[in-house]
Symmetry: C2
DNA sequence: TGTTCTTATCGTCTTCTGATGTTATGTTAT
DNA sequence: ATAACATAACATCAGAAGACGATAAGAACA
């Protein structure tokens, strides 16, 4: 019953949507020519090239004379997971649930996930608050808010994630200790959380070490995926929050293995 | 002959300009009511309040029921120095001069100054490049560029400067060592560079320790001002760049005290 | 050298954000 | 309690930025 898993491409600018579709197209076909894409998407050559330039900047495809080829799937997936911005409703629900755990005066850490971003929108009323994050969109949003101490976690910029990472970021994280951590991952098995990229795992692990209470935000799509790198056992998290659309038979195994699972109401 | 020192309020959005003017008005009058401002600036009460909210967020004024009062002058000055964005032509000239010092492949550090920001616009052609900065507008611009490794220097966000600072930032800086540093200050005496805020001084000093070649960018207005905190002797900089409008009799004292001064052509 | 593919530049058009005022509701003082 | 002030919540409008394609210039390939 995984009814509306994808296909809901709302809330994305036209070019962004097309670029995501082009990315999918390229990944599917391995490599294609610019002209193929012109026909497939009904835009001019120029626009196709511009889209491809952007996708290349994000590390999703590689351009060569005569066409483009797909990059390792991991990159594509992290990127498209971000852009295709699926399950906004679910993420908003997760965010509302998470919000209830936060009290004024606390310090909160956020990773570079869209789930965390949804949470930022709810911060305005929970002031004062200290927020640490390495996610540029979150940073941008938070700069506009009053009574929130923003602690930006610097590092090497990744266009694919629109966030900062690498050693410098991990070091910045380790200098902190926050009350709460909200983070998300690419995939969740009954026992562990996984992520596509080792580089990201480095930072997330540091975050896990630097927070008192750790919360994992998981929309139901994540439970049916797998990913390369094992990040941490689910028991390392104090709470795992899933959305209401998650089938019961996917939740039970988590609990059986000792995870504390809460369900966020839509 | 300090002809056109201020009064050139170009290149600023209407609300930003009005806010700067309101800030000046408030500082001049000590404290005023919202209605006074309505009459003085010919906008609605609502708009006045919005402007004041923004100025308060930046730490320039303090609101209370019935009006607003000015905050310590230092805050006002750093802020207005930033916003009133004077001497753009000069800063562009300084940036062009600085640009000639950069070779592809180098690592460059930038502080949170508008002079540094002008430099960012010239980076696109000097790739590859590694750029480290704590200035949010610079970070935002750099994320869009390819072939530039962006190293964001995190820290505590300051709305007044739109940059990151404090201890976390200083630590991030100290973990680095770049080929070049371009920075600016509030004021320059014949022997020293000065800055208004101690907090900023902390970060700038760290930057000075973390770069091989240090370049100070100074538009001529800076030479006629003073500021509270002594940052460093001018001889700590490998080069001090001034703009062409700087009177000779202001340049000579710097050289007499051992500084290497270069003049940027407009 | 000619052909094909790519990039640069310009003008047009659309879209979107941001700024503003008005009205309505809430809050503080007297 | 009431008046003055402040904020919240729309609706409107304008300006700016972005998207796009056409054309022309440039670069790689064969």
């Amino acid at each position: 019953m995984t009814s509306d898993v994808d296909g809901d491409t709302t809330e994305l600018s036209r070019p962004a949507r097309r670029q995501a579709e082009i990315a999918a197209y390229v990944v599917e076909h391995g490599s294609v020519s610019a002209n193929d894409l012109v026909e497939a998407f009904g835009v001019s050559v120029m626009t196709v090239h511009r889209d491809l330039d952007e996708l290349e900047r994000q590390g999703v495809v590689r351009k060569y004379r005569g066409g483009v080829s797909a990059q390792p799937t991991s990159v594509f997936e992290s990127n498209v997971a971000y852009r295709l911005n699926t399950a906004q409703t679910e993420k908003a629900a997760l965010a509302r649930h998470a919000r209830a755990m936060i009290e004024p005066g606390m310090s909160v850490m956020l990773d570079d996930s869209t789930s965390a971003l949804a949470l930022v929108d709810l911060f305005e009323d929970i002031t004062p608050l200290t927020v640490a994050t390495n996610f540029l969109p979150a940073i941008t949003k938070l700069t506009a808010l009053r009574d929130i101490t923003l602690l930006a976690l610097g590092g090497i910029y990744s266009a694919t994630h629109d966030s900062f990472g690498g050693m410098p970021c991990a070091e910045a994280v380790e200098a902190l200790h926050t009350d709460l951590l909200f983070c998300s991952v690419s995939a969740v098995s009954p026992t562990h959380a996984f992520h596509q990229e080792e580089e990201i795992v480095l930072v997330k692990r540091a975050m896990l070490r630097s927070a008192k209470t750790k919360v994992l935000l998981v929309d139901h799509a994540k439970l049916q995926r797998t990913a390369l790198h094992r990040l941490a056992p689910l028991t390392d998290f104090d709470v795992v929050v899933v959305d209401e659309k998650t089938p019961q038979d996917l939740i039970k195994p988590l609990r059986d293995h000792g995870a504390t699972v809460e369900v966020a109401k839509l």
